[in-house]
Amino acid sequence: MTEASKTHVILLSCGSFNPVTKGHIHMFEKAREYLHKTGRFIVIGGIISPVHDSYGKPGLVSSRHRLTMCQLAVQSSDWIRVDPWECYQDTWQTTCSVLEHHRDLMKRVTGCILSNVNTPSTTPVIGQPQNQTPPPVYQNHSNMNHKPNAIKLWGKISESLGKICCVRPHMERFTFVDENANLGTTVRYEEIELRILLLCGSDLLESFCIPGLWKDSDMEVIVGDFGIVVVPRDGADTERIMNHSSILRKYKDNIIVVKDVMNHPMSIISSTKSRLALQHGDGHVVDYLSQPVIDYILQSQLYIKASG
């Protein structure tokens, strides 16, 4: 009798954001546009989650700086926000645990967000970055300590790890016993299905094919339970990439590749290029980074020395 209702989505992007670039923001916007175009999704928020300092990547500036730069980059966005949870943990968090943290958090707070204890002005909910106030400090939670063996390999790949986008196309697969039950990774409140999807670039997808880099069980959770939205860059062939991994093949319905972004000038931007441009005083940096971020970098004298 009626069409299936839309899935409400939050896009979560993990990565170094060292520094956050225009390409990162463009990735969020393109993913949202594409998901809306399919008619099956409503993107109600975006989360930038910078990696913990102990990630160990050479040249990774302090999380204090990376968080501030991210906040400057989204200050005019009404739907993307920066979350410092990862940075404030005792140690590096797996992508899996970050997804689970946000899912569990959303389960608990979605109800009040949706019934909206908030002002009329602009966005309630998920997109109001603060400008100058430092974020409050989370209490330290005890967390699983995954072996950081993968970190070293990870470092080579992870330039734009922040962006993994997955879209789960079919609503009909979810059956709910109780309107208020939270089954698996889907939050159900007020009859709304809310999914957290990992947003990423094709390089992260590629990293799934590297043997030993990811735990199979983590991949099963990330791709199988949550889902990814991929924004291809630098001419990547996502079909070929997905065929190289049995887990990606198994869950290909949970992987949505955003179309029409290749050949966009933003797709060649990277944090690495940005750092090099800064080191060499290359004026192209204004194409890569937003002005408030550039100003902050200059004022704090970041990325002066060559690294990594």
């Binding site: 009626t2 069409e3 209702s5 839309k6 409400h8 916007e29 949202r32 546009e33 809306h36 409503i42 993107v43 109600i44 906040q71 005019s76 966005s77 009404d78 739907w79 926000r81 920066v82 979350d83 410092p84 958090l105 608990r108 707070v109 109800g111 009040c112 967000i113 949706l114 019934s115 909206n116 204890v117 908030n118 002002t119 009329p120 002005s121 966005t123 309630p124 909910v125 998920i126 109001q128 970055p129 603060q130 106030t133 974020p135 409050p136 400090v137 989370y138 209490q139 109780d178 309107e179 208020n180 007020e190 009859e191 709304i192």
Partner: protein, 274 residues
Amino acid sequence: MAATNLTEVVLLACGSFNPITNMHLRMFELARDHLEDTGHYTVVKGIISPVGDAYKKKGLIEVDHRLEMASLAADTSDWITVDPWESLQPEWVETAKVVRHHYEELLASEQNKDAVDSVKYAKKRRIEDDYFGSASHTKRRGGSQLMLLCGADVLESFSVPNLWKQEDIVEIVGRYGLVCITRSGNDPHKFIHQSDVLWKYRKNIHVVHEWVTNEISATHVRRALRRGQSVRYLLPDAVLCYIKEHNLYNAESEQKNADVVLAPLQKFTGASSS
């Protein structure tokens, strides 16, 4: 009348009340007990404010029925009332706007008190130091206070960085106050502790440990009604009679708004922003 040292409190509960249940009424009783037990407050009024139909929640039946049922329930109490203002608005109204409206009404009704009372009130007034620099966000001493009755999830959401605008949080916990009903013992205090804003206004945040205040019991009631099961003693008899009389809550009513986007999320549909 209230003793001179006690702050008068009005409790405001927003929600669907689809339908109102005994759990909703209990929430008011628990909150009142807790506040009066501190020795600083006297709770003079409770306001039930059902959301308007424009909220577009799935299964939300017409506001006229919900208002009538809430009134029948409030009739059993000598201090809890129903206010239809929110439900009569043509568009959905954010909770903070509803709170602000009732706060302004409270101020207006106080101004109508006699001159003696206004003098006393003016003397007791003092402006608190406001970290965020806006005097209008401070609570007035000596006057009546409006508090929002809600669940602990509100507190947790306030302690998540960047989820809300700072000034919104300051308004809700600074100018008004929260009474959070919760089942889980320690968590609410953790959220207050881990947020500078909430910590600053911790005296305005009252955590009451008991039932979880959300729509679970109303959902259960609707489900039981669809299945022809008894819901007696979950809600006042008068409300139950009304439901039977008007044959509310069946499989069809539960499908209302099934395809529609919930009002607060409607702005997320359509083209992406800049």
